[in-house]
Symmetry: C2
Subunit: 193 residues, 2 copies
C-alpha cells in the first residue's frame, strides 16, 4: 500500500477501526487524482462526479456573484473532505467552483460508490455519519458567526480554529471566506496578534 494512503486510513480509523481487508476494500472504491495549482476539480454548470478527500495540497470551493466577486464556502487542506455537495447529492450541475490554491492530490468518490460502501459496510456509514455530525456543527457555528460576530471576531475565530490556513492561503481568499473586504482584512492583520 502506498504510504500516501496511511493518513487516509488513520483518518477513518479515528472513528471506525478497520481490518487490512476492509481498508483495501474501501480504498478500491476511490480514484486518486493529481491537480496542478489553478486547475479546476469542479466547474459551475458542469456535472459533479465526485466528492474529494484531500491527500495533500489546498483547494477552495466558491461562487462568483454578478460582479465576479468571489465568495468562498470552504477550503480543503490535507485530511479534509470537499465538494459541491448540493450538486453531488442531487446529481445536478455544479453551482460552485472548486480549484487548486497549490498542487493537490485527492481521492475521488462517486455518489454511487459512497452509497454502496455505506450500504455494504455499517462501519463506513458510521464513519460518514460521524464526520457529518462534526461538519454540521461547524457550519452552524459559521452561520452564527456570520450573523452575530464582527469581522475582527470572525478573523480571530478562524485564526484559532485553523492556524495553518493562514500559512497556505493568500489573504484575499481569507477575506472572501470571512465575508469582509481585503482592506478590512489588512487592517485586522496588523491589529490582531
Amino acid at each position: 500500500m502506498e504510504t500516501i494512503f496511511t493518513e487516509f486510513r488513520q483518518h477513518i480509523e479515528e472513528i471506525s477501526k478497520l481490518t487490512d481487508d476492509e481498508f483495501e476494500y474501501i480504498l478500491s472504491h476511490f480514484v486518486k487524482k493529481k491537480f496542478r495549482k489553478h486547475q479546476f476539480l469542479i466547474q459551475q454548470d458542469e456535472p459533479v462526479k465526485y466528492e474529494y478527500f484531500v491527500l495533500n495540497g489546498c483547494v477552495k470551493a466558491y461562487t462568483l456573484d454578478h460582479d465576479t466577486k468571489m465568495h468562498i464556502l470552504q477550503f480543503g487542506m490535507q485530511d479534509w473532505w470537499i465538494g459541491d455537495y448540493q450538486a453531488y447529492f442531487k446529481q445536478i450541475p455544479a453551482t460552485l467552483y472548486v480549484d487548486c490554491i497549490e498542487d493537490t492530490e485527492v481521492l475521488c468518490l462517486t455518489l454511487e460508490n459512497r452509497e454502496k460502501l455505506c450500504t455494504e459496510m455499517h462501519k463506513f456509514e458510521h464513519f460518514t455519519r460521524k464526520k457529518l455530525n462534526s461538519g454540521y456543527v461547524a457550519l452552524q457555528q459559521r452561520i452564527l458567526s456570520l450573523l452575530n460576530s464582527t469581522p475582527k471576531e470572525r478573523y480571530e475565530q478562524l485564526l484559532v480554529q485553523y492556524p495553518s490556513l493562514f500559512q497556505k492561503v493568500p489573504k484575499q481568499y481569507i477575506a472572501a471566506y470571512l465575508g469582509v473586504s481585503r482592506e478590512t482584512l489588512s487592517r485586522l492583520n496588523s491589529v490582531v496578534k
Copy 2:
C-alpha cells in the same frame, strides 16, 4: 400506537423502511414532552440532554449578543429536528436558547440513545446519515446566501423554501433569521409578492 407517532414513522420511512417491531423499538428510545408557548427547551449555559423531533408546534433556536439582539440559527416546525448540536455532541453547556413560538410537542432523544440506535440498527444510522446529508447542504446554502445575497434575495429564497414559516412566525423572528433589520423586512414585505 398513538396517531401522533404515525407521521414520525412516515418521516423515518421516507428513508428507511421499518417493521412494526423496529419502529416500536426506535420509539421506545424517545421521550414525548409538551411545552407551552414561550417555554424553553434549552437554555444557554445549561446542560443539553436531548435533540428534538417536532411533532407539532413551532420553536426557534437562537443566540443573544451583547446588546441582547437575537440571531436565529434555526426554526423547528412539524417533522423538523432541532437542538443545540454543538453542545449535544460535545456534551458541553448550551450556547443556544431553544424556546416555543407556540405550544409544541416534541420527541426527545438523548445522545446515548441516538448512538445506541445507530450502533444496533444499521437502518437507523442510514436514516440519520441521510438526514444529515440534507441538513449539511441546507446549511451550506444558507452560508452562501449570507455571503452573497441581498436581503431581498434572502427573503425571497426563504419564502420559496418554507412558505409555511411566514404563517407561523412573527416578522421580527424572520428578520432575526435573515440577518436584516425589522424595518428592512417590512419594506421587503410590501415590495415582494
